[in-house]
């Protein structure tokens, strides 16, 4: 299989690069080891589009965060992504922390962040009545926003696919191929070799290992776990925006936010670990999150919790992104170590990567504009958010939209069918693309229903359906099957 460029990893970084490069006449392959998108740090994070005041001038984080924020505000309409343009507050509890807000304000202004303002605690409580009475001031960033991260990654990938890119799921990159001059020739995977003169490393928490395949040992990834609580939408409006506490050495600290879909959420911790795949929550981590949540929002309604989860982010020793073209071997590009504000930065990183390819790898790859590029992409209809008129019109066109599958999130059969048409193969993929199972009963009622639809539409037996690919089958066999086995013994 011959391509112009191979992107390893279809998290938000890889997806944004794929979509950006699909603006050019290129044959693009995107590889991801997961059965569904997103799967790594892009799946489990704060879903924040940051203002851009957190990082020091001169860093790559600052270079890409502010323009990334602007790009998302545009992409949200182009790609039909649900974004809550709510702004964010950094909360200060004493004079020392007010000093910190002032520093952040100054830094933000230098970084070109628009609209920053320090407001009093009382002014904050006018907007967010449920925050602690002990908060004395807050830094308001109006351009900050909260994005549906599942939709965002799928929207970018779908847009890239509309424009010719190819996505290969369950395809684990295992090494690089080199030509006789020791330059990049492609990628080896569990599904065979993929040939291309340019390989982009968007491997997230694995990007350090992948860089080593190219002989690049200049950076090391420190997998850093972040744990979260996610509450039911009945808590909608308890908090309307994104609340930070003042950062400590450990990171930006525990935050409280309302997701783009109206769920109250709190997290993350920042625990360094060796295993990049360990996404388990811990009693200590969850206790830390709850404590932090209650500090900001004393009546944080934890009794409405529907799930806990953890993500592993790709921290680097330098604390900054690792982006650039290797001198040797030629053809290898790092978009590595992308962590907060990585989601925000990704569209700007993607534009920068395209520039790098033009400037530094023109001998290997030609970026000729694709005149047929289609920028727009439509999301699967969001039945829950439609007016009665819109619903009626949709049902007239396709009656499967009148059949509710998920009661908690009002997801219809029509939406599930559309998700399957767009490539969903697992219960989790359907959940991320439609929200079926994301509500208060966590799939108790709809999981069997979604499994039946997957089985019917894909023409595979019900007991072959998986939760999230791999060995995650929902069912292990037919009733009484094991009785027969026992009888044979």
């Amino acid at each position: 299989m011959n391509y112009d460029v191979i992107i390893i990893g279809a998290g938000v970084t890889g997806a944004a690069i794929a979509r950006e490069l699909s603006k050019y006449k290129l044959k693009i392959a995107v590889l991801d080891k997961a059965s569904e998108l997103p799967s790594g740090a892009s799946r489990a994070n704060s879903s924040m589009i940051h203002g851009g005041f957190d990082d020091k001038p001169g860093t790559l984080k600052t270079k890409f965060c502010v323009p990334g924020n602007k790009l998302w505000h545009k992409l949200k309409d182009e790609l039909d992504i649900n974004v809550n343009e709510c702004g964010s507050y950094v909360c200060a509890f004493d004079d020392k922390e007010i000093n910190h807000l002032e520093k952040l304000l100054e830094q933000g202004k230098n970084n070109g962040v628009p609209g920053l303002e320090i407001i009093s605690g009382d002014k904050l409580r006018e907007k967010e009545p449920n925050v602690s009475r002990e908060i004395v001031a807050a830094l308001w960033s109006p351009e900050a926003a909260i994005i549906n991260n599942f939709e965002a990654v799928n929207a970018l990938i779908e847009s890239a696919k509309i424009n010719g890119a190819e996505l290969f799921l369950e395809t684990l990159a295992t090494g690089l191929l080199f030509d006789e001059k020791n330059n990049i020739r492609g990628v080896t995977t569990n599904k065979g070799d993929f040939i291309a003169p340019v390989v982009i490393n968007a491997g997230g928490v694995h990007s350090g290992e992948i860089a080593k395949w190219a002989g690049d040992t200049s950076f090391k990834i420190i997998p850093t776990k972040g744990e979260y609580f996610l509450l039911d939408r009945t808590a909608q409006g308890f908090i309307h925006s994104f609340l930070f506490s003042c950062p400590s050495k450990a990171g930006k600290g525990i935050t409280v936010l309302q997701t783009a879909e109206g769920n109250l959420m709190s997290g993350p911790t920042a625990t360094e670990q060796d295993d990049p795949e360990d996404k388990s929550t811990t009693a200590e981590g969850l206790a830390e999150v709850l404590k932090g949540a209650r500090r900001l929002v004393p009546d944080f309604p934890i009794e409405l919790n529907v799930t806990t989860f953890a993500g592993v982010r790709a921290n680097t020793e330098s604390g900054d992104f690792e982006i650039g073209v290797l001198k040797n071997p030629r053809g290898f590009v790092n978009a590595a170590g992308i962590k907060s504000p990585g989601f925000t930065s990704s569209p700007a990183i993607a534009e920068y990567i395209a520039e790098l390819l033009k400037e530094e790898l023109s001998d290997r790859i030609k970026l000729t504009p694709n005149e047929k590029f289609i920028p727009e992409r439509k999301n699967i209809p969001r039945f829950l958010h439609m007016s009665m008129d819109e619903r009626e019109k949709l049902i007239k066109k396709d009656p499967t939209y009148a059949q509710i599958v998920c009661r908690c999130e009002t997801v219809t059969e029509g939406q599930v069918l559309e998700a399957i048409r767009r490539g969903a193969r697992t219960i989790s993929a359907v959940k991320m693309m439609t929200r079926a199972g994301a509500g208060r009963c966590q799939g108790g009622f709809c999981c069997p229903r979604v499994a039946e639809i997957l089985s019917r539409e894909l023409n595979i037996p019900l007991d072959e359906i998986t939760r999230h690919g791999g060995d995650s089958k929902l069912l292990v066999g037919k009733t009484k099957e094991f009785l027969l086995e026992k009888g044979a013994e």
């Binding site: 799930t307 509710i404 039946e452």
Partner: protein, 419 residues
């Protein structure tokens, strides 16, 4: 297809409460009675309850869930109740009680019934409710979801099972999994008493040699794709796991039987007052909610142990909804508040009218393993009990005559205390 104009009683949910409400409304003379059901078949959760034990009181027979419902549905159909399956209610307008429904054939409709009976039942508490640390592999189900897979799809969710929580669905599923060829390692219950009925402990656990571990819980979930095991530990009196008591159990399935929650999203949308303790609407003994045109019955009000009781309550709610339509329920009906005593965890109804003999259903906070009595003061009811357990619903029966004889009655206090 039925007529949407002049619906007298609109019932939401065709489980045991809703179907009985349809019969009750018809018996009381309501003309146009419609029951809406979101699932494709009628009968609610009882359709997947293929074990016997239903209808012992009403039919004096041990029926399966589908058999029990079949009898009620047949009676309702013969009485002229109209059923609409595959019909989702997604909104009730606070202002005018308009009910918005959706169905593949009928599309979106706005119904304006003269009265409504809420009979949506309850749902199971999910894993998130108790935030157990660990991974999120496949193989973790609420007992009811597992029941659906086994009883309706003929598929096994796993081979080696641990059950967390001891509510009735969990106990029933422990037995079912054994009968279908799985192993059940044990049932773990955080409290020092089981959540389900004594008869289910005997018939579903003891008879099959499944151990019930009280004051224990699952403290960690292991496995990336498929569940590989759980860590269990003993808990102290504050429900905190005790260090050093942890034990790893290899299993591929964890079933959750950690309680039921009345499903009241629609009730809340309709602006109906909810009792924060039961999680269901505040009702009087006519099962009338804070909105006089809206009635409620069954597990949507308070979670029952026995379906017979749910059917009884459905009949009452349906009949009173019909009476309301006929103008036979006065807007200034008497409402004597009920108060729970020291050992009452929850109860329903919250008000007594004295119009008819009434039953107050109540559960104790702490078990009493010796002779005790349930009382309704002042002097309205006393009944001796051999024991009282949180897992089993008790009753206080209030005679209408006793209420009428006491015109100055301000409050009724119910309690269960040792003799």
């Amino acid at each position: 297809m039925g007529n949407n104009k002049n619906i007298d009683v609109l019932i939401i949910g065709a489980g045991p409460a809703g179907v009985a409400a349809g019969i009750g409304a018809k018996k009381e003379g309501a003309e146009n009675v419609v029951v809406l059901e979101r699932d494709w078949d009628l009968g609610g959760i009882l359709q997947q309850c293929i074990h016997t034990g239903f209808g012992l009181r009403i039919f004096r027979e041990e029926l399966t869930g589908p058999e029990y419902m079949h009898r009620f549905i047949t009676e309702a159909r013969e009485a002229g109740v109209e059923f609409r399956a595959d019909t989702m209610v997604f909104k009730i307008d606070k202002e005018n009680n308009s009910v918005w429904t959706m169905n593949k054939e009928r599309g979106i409709e706005c119904l304006n019934p003269k009265s409504i009976v809420l009979a949506m039942g309850c749902r199971e508490r999910p894993l998130g409710a108790i935030h157990i640390p660990g991974t999120r592999p496949s193989g973790i189900y609420t007992a009811g979801t597992a029941k659906h897979f086994v009883n309706k799809e003929g598929c096994m969710p796993g081979k080696r099972v641990v059950i967390l929580g001891s509510d009735n669905i969990g106990l029933i599923m422990a037995r079912r999994m054994i009968l279908e060829g799985a192993e059940v390692e044990g049932v773990y219950e955080m409290m020092s008493w089981p959540g389900g009925l004594r008869r289910n402990i005997a018939q579903c656990l003891d008879d099959y040699g499944i151990p019930l571990h009280l004051k224990m819980t699952v403290t960690k979930i292991h496995g990336a794709d498929r569940l590989e095991g759980v860590t269990v530990a003993e808990v102290d009196d504050n429900m905190t796991p005790i260090k050093g008591t942890e034990r790893f159990i290899e299993c591929d399935t964890l079933l959750l039987a950690i309680g039921l929650i009345p499903e009241n999203e629609l009730s809340k949308m309709a602006g109906i007052e909810i009792d924060p303790v039961t999680g269901g609407p505040v009702v009087n003994d006519l099962l009338q909610t804070s909105n006089p045109a809206v009635f409620a019955a069954g597990n949507v009000v308070i979670v029952y142990d026995l379906v017979d009781k749910v059917s009884d309550e459905g009949l009452i709610a349906g009949a009173n909804a019909a009476k309301f339509v006929a103008g036979k329920i006065s807007p200034d009906i008497k409402k004597i508040p009920v108060k729970g005593g020291q050992n009452v965890r929850l109860f329903s109804p919250q008000f007594i009218t004295g119009e008819k003999d009434a039953i107050i259903y109540l559960r104790v906070t702490h078990p009493i393993e010796r002779a005790c009595k349930v009382t309704a003061e002042p002097g309205l009811y006393t009944q001796r009990l051999r024991y009282a357990r949180p897992g089993e619903m008790n009753e206080a029966r209030i005679k209408a005559s006793a209420i009428k004889a006491n015109p100055n009655l301000k409050e009724i206090t119910i309690d269960i205390q040792p003799m």
